[in-house]
Symmetry: C2
DNA sequence: GATCGCATGTAAGTGGTTACATGATTTA
DNA sequence: TAAATCATGTAACCACTTACATGCGATC
C-alpha cells in the first residue's frame, strides 16, 4: 500500500504538456518548480527508461548539430491514464523535517549567538527565494491567455509567496526575541 | 561529505535534557515536535543501540511493576560534544516536495472539481494543525519560568503558526479562483 | 472479548542523494 | 585554458517507511 514513486508522476505530468528529453525535464523542474519540487538526473534517467518499458512513454533519438543527441520522450495513452489516476488521489500529508527548528529546540545548549546566526542565514535564503517567486508571479500575471495552466501555476506561486512572506515576518520577530534570550542567558551564567 | 543521520541528533538533543527510553523519545517527538519533525520506532531503536556502541550514550534497564521493562538511555560527555558540534553547523536547506502543488501544476488535465477538493482537504488539515499549534502556544505563554528552553520553543511554535495561518489564507484565496477556473474550463469544452 | 497503552525490536524494500564517468562545443 | 552548457547515464550508499513480531495489563 501507498507506493509513491513521485518522480514518475512529475515526469508524466511534464510529458503530458509536451514531448521532452530527460535533460529538459530537469531544466523545467529546476527553473519553474524548484520552490516546491526537486528531481536529480540520477532519478530522472532510470525512471524514463522504466517508463518506456512499462509502455507509459515512447522514445525517439533526435540528432543535433554541434550538440549531443537527445532522447525525446512522448507520453502514451497509458501514460496519460496513469497520470489522471494519480491526479484523482488525495495527496498524502508530507512528513516535514525542518532541521533549523530541531536545532532551535536544543538551542539552549549553545550560545544564543549561534542560533541567531542560523536564523539570519535562513532569513537571507528566504528573501532570495521571495525575489524569485515575485518574478514568477509577475511573469504569470503578464500572461493574458485564457488557458487553465497559468491559473494553476498562479495558485502554486502564491502558495510559495504566502509561506515565504510569513517566514520573513517570523524571522524578524524571532530575532527581536534574542534580546530577552541574551538577558536570560547572562542571568544563567551568574 | 554531508552525512545527515538526523535521527541521531534528534535523540541526542532530547537526551541532553533528560535520560529517556526509546519509547519516551518517540512520545515526546510525537506530542511536542510533530509539526516539524517525525521519527518512527524502527529508526529510534537501532539508532539508540548504535549510539551506545559509539559511546554517545549509556543504557540501564529499569524494572517496572505491571509494565514491561524500560531501557533508559543517558547521554555521555562524548554525546554532548557531538550534539554541540552539530548545533554549530549551518542547517542545510531542506529539499521540499509538496505533492499537492505538483498535482495542481497538472491540474488542467482533470476536472477542476478534483483540484478544488484537494485544496479543501488540505485546508481542513491545516486548520486542525492550527488548533494544535494554538494550544501549544497558550501552554508556552503560561510558562513563567525564566529558562531558555520555552523561549526557543515559542520561536518554533510561532514558525508553525505563521506558516499555517498563511496557508489557511492561501487556501481561501485559491478556492475563490475556481470561479474563474470553471469559466475557462467551460469555454474550453465548447 | 477486543482494543488500547506500554515497551522493544527485526526484515524487507525503496526512494533519493552524492559521487563518478564521458565527451563535444561555446564562452570567459 | 578553464569553466560552463548540453547531454546521458551508472554505482554505491543510506535514510526512511511499512509491515511484521511479541507480550503483559488495564480498560471498555
Amino acid at each position: 500500500m501507498a507506493k509513491k514513486n513521485r518522480t514518475k508522476y512529475s515526469i508524466l505530468g511534464l510529458l503530458s504538456l509536451a514531448p521532452l528529453s530527460g535533460y529538459d525535464v530537469r531544466q523545467i523542474i529546476e527553473e519553474q518548480l524548484s520552490y516546491f519540487w526537486a528531481e536529480s538526473y540520477s532519478q530522472i534517467y532510470p525512471t524514463l527508461k522504466r517508463m518506456v518499458e512499462e509502455g507509459l512513454a515512447t522514445v525517439s533519438v533526435e540528432e543535433q548539430e554541434g550538440k549531443p543527441d537527445r532522447k525525446v520522450y512522448t507520453i502514451t495513452p497509458d501514460g496519460l491514464a496513469e497520470l489522471h489516476e494519480w491526479l484523482l488521489e488525495t495527496p498524502l500529508p508530507e512528513s516535514r523535517r525542518i532541521e533549523l527548528l530541531l536545532k532551535l529546540t536544543f538551542g539552549g545548549q549553545v550560545e544564543s549567538s549561534v542560533m541567531e546566526a542560523h536564523i539570519r542565514h535562513e532569513q537571507a535564503q528566504i528573501k532570495s527565494m521571495l525575489a524569485e517567486l515575485e518574478a514568477l508571479e509577475t511573469a504569470l500575471l503578464a500572461d493574458d491567455s485564457d488557458a487553465l495552466g497559468p491559473l494553476y501555476q498562479l495558485i502554486n506561486v502564491r502558495y510559495g509567496l504566502a509561506v515565504t512572506r510569513s517566514s520573513v515576518g517570523w524571522a524578524e520577530q524571532s530575532l527581536e526575541m534574542f534580546e530577552e534570550i541574551r538577558r536570560r542567558e547572562e542571568q544563567r551564567n551568574d
